[in-house]
Symmetry: C2
Subunit: 245 residues, 2 copies
């Protein structure tokens, strides 16, 4: 039976989603080990999207095939019991058809990126936000973000090690709002290139600080060259909030 699992995790103590060499703790390994510990089966999970070291999730989705029949409650609670005390939890477990694929069936990925824009360092939100001291103005950032919406070659916002075949992506949403000292970005697309959200946020932060104009974002996009865009925002501000199917 194929299972769809919806996960929440704090990415801080992990080397990222993907299993790496022994001794380096990945979320994938923690999850696969917990599944094996409860079911006795060797489990290989497929994820909707690999997250980098330090990146969080409130709604990551994976699928995994298990031979034996289990109840929803057992799958969810037993995996959670074996994940303790690691900060990874199965929010929902759902049996799905064999045609469901966490990666290839996904029609939407949604991310939230949060900046703490104030003088004082973060305390309660340490490892959850990007601390930016210079006062940022969100209006020009919104103007800059508008240039990124739609179907484009996003080579300027793509990590050097990105394994996607094409740099073409369709950005459906890039909303920027302010809530007190917090600046919140919501980005949605069918899929993103590696580091795309963090590179868009890093580039827009230059606009927010007044060092770039909104039009510079358009020129950076059109250059189709990573060197033409701004810095990569740090991972801790990023959360994969939802995967839609």
């Amino acid at each position: 039976m194929r299972w769809k699992l919806t996960l929440e995790y704090d990415g801080t103590p992990f080397v990222g989603w993907q299993r790496q060499e022994p001794g380096l703790l990945s979320i994938q390994q923690a999850l696969e080990d917990a599944i094996t510990a409860f079911s006795g089966e060797t489990a290989a999970v497929t994820t909707a999207g690999r997250t980098d070291a330090g990146v969080h999730a409130e709604g990551q989705v994976v699928h995994v095939d298990l031979t034996r029949d289990w109840s929803v409650k057992t799958v969810r609670d037993a995996i959670n019991a074996h994940l303790r005390p690691l900060p990874v939890a199965v929010l929902h477990a759902e049996p799905v058809s064999d045609e469901f694929n966490a990666r290839f069936s996904a029609k939407l990925r949604a991310y939230r990126y949060t900046i703490l824009n104030r003088r004082a360092p973060p305390t309660l939100e340490a490892n959850r936000i990007w601390h930016v001291v210079p006062k940022m103005d969100i209006e020009p950032m919104r103007e800059g973000a508008a240039h990124l919406l739609g179907h484009h070659d996003f080579s300027s916002f793509r990590a050097a090690d990105c394994q996607a075949k094409s740099p073409m992506r369709t950005l459906d949403k890039l909303e920027i709002t302010r809530d007190g000292d917090r600046i919140i970005f919501i980005a949605e697309a069918r899929s993103f290139l590696h580091h795309q959200v963090r590179n868009m946020v890093g580039t827009l932060s230059m606009v927010g600080k007044g060092r770039w104009t909104p039009d510079d974002v358009k020129q950076a996009l059109e250059a189709c060259d990573r060197a033409a865009a701004g810095p990569t925002a740090p991972p801790e501000g990023l959360v994969l909030t939802r995967v839609g199917y």
Copy 2:
């Protein structure tokens, strides 16, 4: 010169606000040490309210007297520099008259308490919320909370070690809202007894789980006996959000 400092902190790694024996890290000690380190003066801070071990603050207020003249920027940034890497930060520093007293001038204390009401354990909000698994209903909790509003003898909601002279307090607000899996309590009063918010939340949680009726809260209040009320909710869900003057 007297300074009013507004603080944010993560209470998790501390034994609480109050300085205790050497070797136990209190927020008071961390702050006083940072003030001394930057100013060279022995500092004694007075707080609007001592928070217990594990309780957080987004708007704690203290006052401290410094002999030398400093700029607002220096006081705020220098204390923050010396507090690193502890999760305590000065959000605002403001010179005030000698008549200002962080404790006695306070006219309002506001707290937020958050419950995570779901099956899966917390990950991103670990140490920030109280995890309650049984499904809770907020309507009867609101009915129960209504009995606590106003001027009452709160002996039933008072810690055994509470040092207040009188158990009489006026509860101005006790709002309960739901946001997805989160149940949020907002409590406001001129002052609270020791553990009062946590004891009110713990008692109302019994109502939320259907084990108590809203009227049982009224009877617990009228008993004027700690044993008549419900359990003390754990500290990690509590945040001192604001002190009004």
